[in-house]
């Protein structure tokens, strides 16, 4: 009846009973959840929460929810990271030297990788896409608002499923890409890999939906006059990213389905017996995995291309070069996956081809760095927080690129492969590139979303914590790799490695200071929100000064309908151009605006897909069947019988909202 939940060998509560750390974490999580629910009930916020957030189809609110999800998962993933660093600093000599058992340690590094890529970085970038793209395009929403809401709740279901594995059963111990045969039934018979498969499958489905949505939005919903080559660079990188997602996530879904059919249906795609071949999986997963890193980094490149011109008060240098560099990366990213296993013995031709293809990718990436550099050249640079993150990103990322080119030489890679040198390299590019870039975007667009900037002093501490913490924690890993340390070691026998592991641990704590200050920054804003009871006052449109794109031409936070009148675009950097031409904002004679109606269908489908995932993990077949059919039914019912005709915001409402904004501008003495 309850599948593996009632199976004594499945170890349903094993971790809770045997690992005090897990018990403690689960209790805290339950406590926090209870507290949040209590607060919602006490202040009677359920209705607001349901109407304004859970059922919303407004791209801005969905974007904010994505970012909140990403930040929560960042903390979860970072907790895993710091546990690993503390463990490895102690783990000299035997399995029992550190404080984590091999079983627990192996779950932690798998969870860290999986969560950071699929539930931190991916939601973060969808948060940006959601919030920024329609505003930059001069659109009122995305192309498919319901799909957007649905995608968010399915992502959320995946994130919940992966976190349920903390308490019930266990998580996979297979590394973030789950190579078979370790991830087959022979290697991992219990629930871990199933949690991994189904939570990522859910996240993958949601991500694919998002990609379809944003491609359609960017192709079809640009403001009149905004031709492709007049689009902001962030939209360009977003377009290319979403094309990449659309190309690779189906590969991931298919690969995981094959692995799942090995595990559930007794098939032999990747098993050792029955003519299966594990190496096929390795190829499939990296055909997904390598373009995925460009999915993560391209939006970061886009963010830098927005932030640097703003804070240099200057046009972006080499717009056309930037666009072509992005497109070249799109094409080349499909031709490099084999560089993840030069050590497979592919032979001279294969290795050389993929080596050269990999190196060529460094060219467009280098071009981007140069273009930002020449954007700063003869500009007027201001060191606001977003610009600091960008400078930190540029400075750090070139170093990561250096290590990357070294790794792309097969003969050198044969010494670096799967050593801590590799770990240091990809953290160099992911923290130094992706995280710094995303945080630049976070700080940059934050005042657009909430009307006020994040605290500068805390922001400085946060930046320097991350910056120096990164160097302190990952440079020792480069050296350790050269000293012969492989990755994922639960303990090691070389006493000379320990000091470096200790330094790395100290670095992780310095990063922790950075994260703590970020949390404080956000808490201050939450306090501000509480003061105004959630109705944030309208603030001026352009808090940074010298901004260039359309999102800065409307109030912060923007009204529900974004643009009272869809702007006419004449050149690149549309808002900058409007300012130069002495554009006068319309203050009268607004018309009514059509808006999509809210729906709870996305939420219910998401929750039902969580139940499907849970049922699949624990082999509760009746639950799987019922919840799967219901999930499909909800969508069918919504599509055919739901109220999706939308509604109109009256001209008076628009007038009132715009008057508020006019009053704000007047009090600030701004003419617009």
């Amino acid at each position: 009846m309850f599948g593996r939940l009632t199976d004594p060998t499945a170890g349903v509560l094993f971790a809770l009973q045997n690992e005090p750390i897990v018990l403690f974490t689960v209790l805290i999580l339950l406590g926090v959840t209870a507290l949040v629910l209590a607060v919602l009930t006490f202040f009677g916020l359920w209705k607001t929460f349901w109407c304004n957030w859970i059922t919303t189809v407004d791209h801005k609110r969905i974007g904010i929810m994505y970012v909140i999800l990403a930040l929560i998962m960042l903390i979860r993933g970072f907790a895993d990271a710091i546990m690993m660093r503390v463990h490895q600093a102690m783990a000299l000599g035997s399995e029992h030297a550190g404080y984590l058992s091999p079983d627990h340690y192996n779950q932690i590094f798998t969870a860290h990788g999986t969560i950071m890529i699929f539930f931190m970085a991916t939601p973060f970038l969808f948060g940006f896409f959601n919030y920024v793209i329609p505003l930059q395009l001069g659109a009122r929403d995305v192309a498919f608002p319901f799909l957007n809401n649905l995608g968010f709740w399915i992502t959320c279901a995946g994130a919940l499923l992966i976190n349920i594995s903390l308490g019930l059963g266990n998580f996979a111990r297979v590394g973030w890409l789950a190579y078979p045969p370790l991830s087959e039934l022979t290697g991992s018979p219990d629930t871990g890999v199933d949690y991994y498969l189904w939570s990522l499958q859910l996240s993958g489905i949601a991500t694919t939906m998002g990609a379809i949505n944003f491609i359609a939005t960017i192709i079809k919903m640009r403001a009149p006059g905004m031709s492709m080559m007049k689009m902001p660079i962030f939209c360009w990188t977003a377009l290319v990213t979403n094309i990449l997602i659309l190309a690779i996530y189906p590969v991931l879904a298919a690969t995981f389905l094959l692995l799942a059919s090995d595990r559930y249906l007794g098939m032999h795609f990747f098993t050792n017996d029955g003519s299966g071949n594990p190496m096929v999986y390795v190829n499939y997963i990296w055909m997904f995995g390598h373009p995925e890193v460009y999915v993560l980094i391209l939006p970061a490149f886009g963010i830098l291309s927005e932030v640097i011109p703003t804070f240099s008060s200057k046009r972006l240098f080499g717009y056309t070069s930037m666009v072509w560099a992005t497109i070249v990366i799109l094409i080349l990213s499909f031709l490099v996956w084999v560089h993840h296993f030069f050590t497979m013995g592919g032979g001279v031709t294969v290795n050389t081809f993929f080596s050269v293809a990999t190196m060529i990718i460094a060219v467009p990436t280098g071009v981007k760095i140069f273009n930002w550099l020449f954007t700063m050249y003869k500009g007027r640079i201001r060191f606001d927080l977003p610009m600091l993150w960008c400078l930190g990103m540029m400075f750090t990322f070139v170093g990561g690129g250096l290590a990357g080119v070294m790794l792309s030489l097969p003969a050198a890679d044969w010494q670096f492969h799967n050593s801590l040198f590799l770990v240091a390299h990809f953290h160099h590019t992911i923290i130094g590139g992706v995280v710094f870039g995303y945080l630049a975007g976070f700080v940059y667009w934050f005042p657009k979303a909430f009307g006020l900037k994040l605290n500068r002093v805390l922001g400085l501490i946060s930046f320097f914590g991350w910056f120096f913490g990164f160097y302190l924690s990952f440079f020792p890993l480069y050296i350790l790799g050269l000293m012969g340390a492989s990755r994922r070691l639960q303990y090691y026998m070389e006493p000379s490695w320990q000091p470096l592991f200790i330094v790395a641990m100290i670095g992780a704590f310095v990063i922790a200071i950075g994260i703590l200050c970020m949390a404080l920054q956000v808490l201050i804003v939450i306090w501000y929100g509480v003061k105004y009871k959630g109705n944030l006052p309208v603030q001026k449109n352009d808090p940074w000064g010298d901004t260039r794109t359309l999102e800065w031409s409307i109030s912060s936070p923007p009204p529900a309908y974004n643009f009272a009148n869809i702007p006419q675009v004449k050149t690149r950097d549309a808002y900058w151009n409007m300012k130069e031409e002495g554009y006068v904002r319309q203050t009268k004679n607004f018309t009514k605006i059509h808006m999509p109606s809210n729906t709870s269908a996305g939420f219910w489908t998401g929750m039902l897909s969580l139940v499907v995932g849970f049922g699949l993990v624990w082999h509760i077949w009746w639950l799987v069947i019922i919840s799967f059919i219901s999930a499909i039914l909800v969508i069918i019912l919504y599509s055919f019988f739901g109220d999706n005709s939308g509604y109109y915001l009256s001209a008076e409402y628009v007038q009132k909202t715009e008057d508020h904004f006019s009053a704000c501008l007047e009090s600030e003495g701004i003419r617009l």
Binding site: P181, G187, G345, M376, A411, S486
Partner: protein
């Protein structure tokens, strides 16, 4: 009082960390190779590092210099808000990376070709004989078979200095990778596959060997030792192994495939000649059919297989 104790402890920790830094400075194995392959790899690593520094360091300096020089507080600096295109600069930004990448690509091709792990090393004469070792990654230990000597070991390799070692690698179940940092080149040990690797040690010594691909719970305990010794010492060691009472036949092998952590060194004085072949082809258990035969059977049944059979080398066909 307590604080004084702590202060001392903290001081001690820093002293140890500092001291071990100095000590560890002489243990960067990849940069202190003792083998032919690893030496070439060090050359390549350093060359590519320096080549890349030629572009990375100026960029890093430029980032800092531009940020300071064009800071808004320097009002007298030239300010060109509309300047965004320059044909010559763009030629430079595309050209310089392409130039460096071209040099690196040539380097990469050369080294990839010259040190291809499956080929005999380039400096050796054709008539020089190499020592063959067949390695099998088990859960969680390494089994090394010396087919020419009829011996086998767990977690220990002895090889004569100055003789090329030809390795074949496979895995019983979960894949792993074989890495001796001071000799060079990691190669995967994959189930159902037979990967080939050539190594050459130029100096006597004991080198640490690492498992370089995560393989499950006992992975960390899969470290092994490679002893590079003189020919005499090697012969002595072979004699010592031959004294072992253990024989490696198919049933002993099946017992070895059981999971065990942190195995100590073990010697086998006799081996089953075709054991390695059977592990690669997954037919160790009595009565099981070998993969190679199964494949030939399957190929014989399909048109595609028959068409492709023109490429068979004819060695293995009936």
């Amino acid at each position: 009082m307590l604080w004084v104790g702590w202060k001392k402890k903290i001081f001690n920790i820093f002293a140890i960390v500092g001291l071990s830094f100095l000590l560890s400075a002489c243990k960067i194995l990849v940069l202190q190779p003792e083998g032919l392959v690893a030496k070439a790899q060090r050359t390549l690593i350093i060359t590519s590092f320096v080549l890349m520094l030629c572009i990375v360091i100026p960029v890093m300096i430029a980032i800092v210099v531009f940020a300071i020089k064009y800071h808004v507080s320097n009002k007298d600096r030239e300010y060109l808000p509309e300047w965004s295109e320059s044909y010559s600069i763009e030629c430079f930004t595309w050209g310089v990376p392409i130039l460096i990448i071209t040099v690196l690509a040539i380097l990469s091709g050369y080294f990839t070709y010259r040190y291809e792990p499956s080929k005999s090393l380039p400096i050796l004469r054709a008539d020089e004989k190499s020592l063959q070792i067949d390695a099998i990654a088990l859960e969680w230990k390494w089994l090394f078979i010396y087919p020419e000597y009829g011996i086998a070991t767990i977690n220990e390799i002895y090889a004569p200095t100055g003789q090329q070692v030809f390795m074949q690698l496979t895995a019983e179940s979960v894949m792993n990778a074989f890495w001796v940092p001071q000799l060079g080149t990691v190669i995967y040990a994959m189930p159902q596959m037979n990967a080939k690797l050539h190594l050459f040690s130029e100096k006597n010594g004991s080198f640490i060997g690492m498992p370089a691909h995560y393989s499950g719970e006992g992975f960390s305990g899969m470290g092994f030792k490679w002893y590079s010794v003189s020919r005499d010492a090697f012969e002595n060691w072979v004699a010592r192994v031959r004294q072992s009472s253990l024989k490696l036949d198919r049933s002993t092998y099946v017992a070895l495939t059981r999971k065990s952590k942190r195995n100590s060194v073990l010697y086998f004085s006799g081996i089953n000649k075709d054991l390695y072949y059977r592990v690669v082809n997954r037919c160790v258990l009595a009565g099981s059919k070998c993969n190679e035969d199964l494949m030939r059977l399957a190929a014989g049944k399909s048109l595609w297989g028959r068409i492709c059979s023109v490429f068979d080398d004819g060695v293995n066909s009936e």
